[in-house]
Symmetry: D3
Subunit: 320 residues, 6 copies
């Protein structure tokens, strides 16, 4: 049975479906009866849920947050739609169709990943090649790489977003490298492939997009850096040494790819390759952020609302 | 006869050649004799010139600055090479081989310009097409466009630099536009072509690279903007109207292409096309600046000296 | 019949008057009936309007935004006043008394404009004189100049605000110029007169104060600059040449009059005249902004609420 | 006998005159002989002085810094003029004509001070009147007020500079106050009069312009503030109370008159009067700084060298 | 009878207790009856109060703000608890138990103050000793010093907060001074003791924490500085001179103890003692702010919400 | 034989000693003879060296840089002392007494290290204990830790500087931790011990203080972080797991200990322990920097020259 999306529910409908429950609170009415208030959501929106005649046992059993099956009815209350819950039961995350709760890239993940592998297959330097191959050989990590979002809010904030972003950056890189003959392609390609690899550890995306504790304390820049060094340690244990010079040049690209201290880079770009990765990353992120802000904004106005991150409103009237 | 370049002069040589004279000063020695001190330069460097037993007439006749033919002799004085001038005469600028005094792109100007025309020939919007054609039809302006440097100091600071920069940006633009289907190619191509066109009025490059008065007071961003509006006025007088919407969208790209108020842009990018032109410009400028700083730095060190504009030293060791 | 102002409506009154309708939305009630929600406003405030039993035809015919005649009744709903609409009809903008919708300077426009003309009549330099006369002779532009607000929010945000601001700046200029004998009065007077002339194109004020598309993409600083150059082009066509030196000196004042890159000036002041116009503008704008914030704040407190633009609260207790 | 100014000395002249000696150092030549190197200066410039066959006694007796009578001869050494000292003797500061060493305003001090008194005589509020009168009655302080420079480097850096600056600000204030009827004139006039009064303690100007220890540790803003409070304490002891409200409003003008934290103001302007004093101060200081930079720059160029404090070069070509 | 705290009131209770009334407004209902709306609060929270059938006399008599005795009943209205007021009468502030309205340090004030006196008793320099003793001898001031909060919002924002903060800083100072033998202990101890003494005049805390007018216009940094100078004046009148050098060194610590212009310090630290006081202050303030934010945040999350002042969320999971 | 220090050489002395040679250049005189110019230095200063009648073989054999034995003579040339080299031979670095070339802490290294071990011996958490013990057990690393300077320029810039800085910070930490009971001591002690451990890899100090390539590209913050993770990996291989939570909390302290993005921290402090380590580090570094600047400045002035890093001059007059 198809999921009933939050933004499709009309007042007065019978509800029997799975939603993500968040922030349940046990309260008592004026008459002293207990009830539970919570939010119910999927990827299209969020509603208030109210379960009257609740008990402390029901409350304690609720996941905080987690998936639940809700039986009840929708109603309008003070102009807002809410769901009156009659029965609620916990649902195993594995049985949930995640796509109903987390938006996903509309591009073909498998095809993008094949193209990523093909492009980084151009790397000639044997040590860099060994290093990126070690990453490619890590099935579990590559699985995450293909599914993690590119971010929580700003750009590519959907399942597969990191892959889509990395894939597009690689396409841009090989398209423009011929015009910059003094820039070393191997470092740029390896740098682009791995620049945000730490997001696989920084972001969690099992029910909704958020930061892991470790992600908030350490950040994906340093996490990406350390993952590269750990793969190099593994290679060394297997008998393949990566020279410090190569690790430093690649590591420097990772550390400096936000381009400025204020954006969390502990180092400023100091090699042509670091500059190039920084610009390709920023170009792809900003154009994606801008075009999706323009598309997603409802209404007919030629201008989006003010975008604080860009310090401007965006104009979306097309010429001709 | 080939020009004797400043950086080829050895101590004790006889000199009879054309140099650029600057900042002549008339002074008197302890004994009361008059002499003239000046700088003599070409594109390879600069030496002190001393003309003993000078007269006020000679001094007054000297250009400030300008080209002169110098007869005399080189000598070492306190470890510095200088030129003792016996005779000096003014040389008509038109008879001077400018390439001896101003460095020039080592790329083929004619070929680059042909490619520029070919790429902007892809523009389909009839009004934008009319507008760029009006620029292409302005022979005098295109002559300047092909010769003006890209800047006085930071990047592409040689004759033909603006053309080389614009040409490379256009190549990058058509290479990456396919990966950004929501960005309007016509606006990007016209924006790249014209983004720095005002440098033809901002910079003077007849004897050396410097800013015009008008360039310093107004700046190339606003000059580019106004040149576009003036061409549109000319087209209108000829019967071809450019809609205000198109002029605004293109003008906005010009005004915002430095990306930040602090870099002299009076507007921040607010359209996908403005973001793209900003990034392509900055990428091409910075990579060019970095690779040429790396190449031109003498010595064996793996690091250049501190670069204030980039807030770092640059690392130039290649991998493998 | 006098307009019934929004801030004078009591609960339970019959309504039959013209208001500005904005953001109409067609919705359906729980029972499936259609209704229209919209905002109704004049210069004194804004209320919710509700039209029950609406049809899609009525909705489609509504201006978005525009003036409408509303017949209905006011009522309190959840402590908020709203207007229940029985009939609604579109009103021709020309028949509307704009003063009911847009606040206007309480100074005499005609008298201020006469004084402006008198003060800039002091300009002696014949070319600058021709240039400002060309502006004065443009009836349509001067009409706008006398009516456009000084801004959308911060200062002089009412009809005639630009004139009031320019007029006061000119009075300040002639009062202080005698104390600065090295500053050229002609440039200062012309600079003050034209410093914000581009606001006539940046701002729209037919129904409410807002930015035009062109205003948002280009900004009034560059628009003022280009209008000066266009008038100079017109003069040239008529046989009166304005030297580039004069256009540059005046244009530089316009471009630098915000005093800092961060406030959108693409050039920093580099002449005594540019510094003077910058300070006179900022003084007049800030004192006007501060005194009107102090006056308009309701309540008895000696302090206004926090003013983000000024990074402080304002103190309004008078001495003695 | 007229003082021989440093910038009038030619090579080979006999010297017998008073100069300011600074930074004397005792050194030994290759042969082991002792000599003293020092700087000799007056308000027109500075030269190296060399006293051969010096003794430790002579060295110890020299002031560091102080005025000396020098007998000797000027000579050119490696293109620089220097003075060979035969005899040197200390000169009592009281016998020195300070005007030879410290430049002075070319305006009439007495006349300016009379005008200052006349303008602040307009103050009507009896408490503010008592307060400024208490300052005027302090002969010693007013003597300093009429002589202290306006600063060490940036603007009005000559004897009488503070008076000239304050006087001009007062003239500007009374010229523009009529155009700002909501601004309280008494507070503005008292604020202008006292805004930099602490410079009398911040700056020393007995031999050259410099900061006192106290000036560097505390600064003139806080010193001005405390002087006002001390005068109020004195008045209170005499039976005249100044209300805290008035002291706060005036003190706030003093503390906020640099307009921004970055310029050392511990408070941002929060009253119309504080804004007005800030702008009048900045206008007068900057226009003075800019016009004097333009005048004092030697050479024919239309542009001064780069001015770091203003982040630009200055343009000094006049129109017509 | 114990005070009924706001956060303990249930719906449907009878109320007869003292609360702080703020912002009363007289309104009329749809039927034309008058009622008064106001806020009622104590240190645990705030509720809406409604008094139906009110008169203008009752309204006028209400304090704005002030303490009132309220008789009435609590009820739920649209999910919010409010108090329906039947009778209201003004209560003399002196009869109110302030602890119910203002939170207070949970440390022992008397004991902390004894320890403060003991630590500053270590000061050996006789002049500094006289100065701090003069402060200690000012009973009224010391009473305030022991009760004033450390701030309105950010840290130590409770009665006795300044004492607690100063006490802890003094303990830190004597603990670390032995490791910095080049830092003068007397200046550090006096500087710590007096660094925020001006908060006794900057903050009011009779009913709630807020700034005085004088506090907002002048600020506690300058107020602390002036109080030191006034005590020195008093000592001088009594025959004990404090050298200017000592006043300047101590005053400099006060003026620079925020460490940066942006935080309102008009001077940057320029002595070892000023640096030490700045760091001890910032360490104590920030650690206190962080640990109390961590403790006071409700809920089980390992992260607090975003803290704008610190530009991060805070992590509060303990190890092991 | 004792080393003849550079700052003890008089003109005309015979020289036969070891110096550090840098930047040798082979040049030809006017007559065509080859000579070598170079710098000769030890920790007290630097002189020009000139070797006349040099050959290309000698030049090629010279270290760039490295230690050499120089035989020759000192002489004054144009007021500068230089060394005329007759013979030059390369010296094995191992045979050089490094203390002649690199300044060293005047504290007892062994004793400080013992105290460091004792203080971190207080750590109770078994996992943190294992981790710091793993560092202590790494003899080679601890050897470096005891000898590396604290920095190249700003503070603790001498052999043993990092140990001295860390040792003092640990003393401060245990002195103040009792006053902050909510801060976890184990994390603070481990954080202080390891906060700059990466400087052992960032800095080279075999002949002079400088950055390694890896140090410049990666930086000590990230290097410290990665060293901790590598030790944890080693421990894991030995069977001792360090929980991710502990590694994150400790790693976060390392990454955020510069306190601001602008100072190269990729994360801002988000735990009480991170705030405390940041303040202890900054306090110790700044007080050390300030007191050593004050001590090392020659001359009698109460003020040091302007210190750009601190944006002030420093005052060094002691009270009484």
């Amino acid at each position: 049975m198809a999921h009933k999306f939050i933004n499709e529910i009309e007042p007065g409908e019978a509800i029997d479906d799975v939603y993500l429950a968040r922030d349940p609170i046990l309260r008592s009415t004026t008459r002293g009866d207990l009830y539970i208030a919570m939010f119910l959501s999927d990827r299209t929106g969020r509603l208030n849920g109210r379960m009257w005649q609740a008990t402390e046992e029901v409350y304690k059993a609720l996941p905080k947050p987690g998936f639940v099956n809700v039986q009840g009815r929708s109603e309008l209350y003070q102009n807002n739609l809410q769901i009156i819950i009659n029965n609620i039961s916990i649902v195993d995350t594995k049985k949930v169709s995640l796509e109903d709760f987390l938006s996903r890239t509309d591009k073909d993940t498998k095809q993008m990943f094949e193209e990523v592998k093909k492009i980084i297959g151009r790397i000639k330097n044997p040590q860099l090649k060994s290093l990126v191959d070690e990453f490619l050989a890590d099935k579990e990590l590559m699985e995450k790489f293909c599914n993690v979002p590119g971010g929580v809010k700003l750009h590519h904030d959907y399942l597969g977003g990191l892959l889509e972003h990395t894939h597009n950056m690689l396409r841009v890189a090989i398209a423009i490298l011929p015009f910059y003959p003094d820039v070393q392609p191997d470092l740029v390609l390896a740098g682009v492939f791995l620049h945000d690899i730490g997001k696989t550890e920084e972001l969690s995306y099992d029910m909704a997009f958020s930061y892991t504790d470790s992600g908030q304390l350490i950040g994906h820049i340093v996490k990406s850096f350390i993952m590269i060094n750990q793969k190099a340690d593994v290679l060394k244990a297997k008998g393949t040494d990566i020279e410090q010079t190569i690790l430093d040049a690649l590591g420097h690209i990772i550390l400096s790819h936000h381009g400025a201290y204020d954006y969390g880079s502990p180092k400023l770009p100091a090699t042509p390759e670091a500059f190039m990765v920084y610009y390709i990353d920023d170009l792809d992120a900003k154009v994606s952020q801008v075009t999706s802000a323009i598309e997603s904004e409802p209404g007919d106005s030629d201008w989006t609302p003010w975008k604080t991150a860009l310090q401007t409103r965006l104009y979306r009237k097309k010429i001709e």
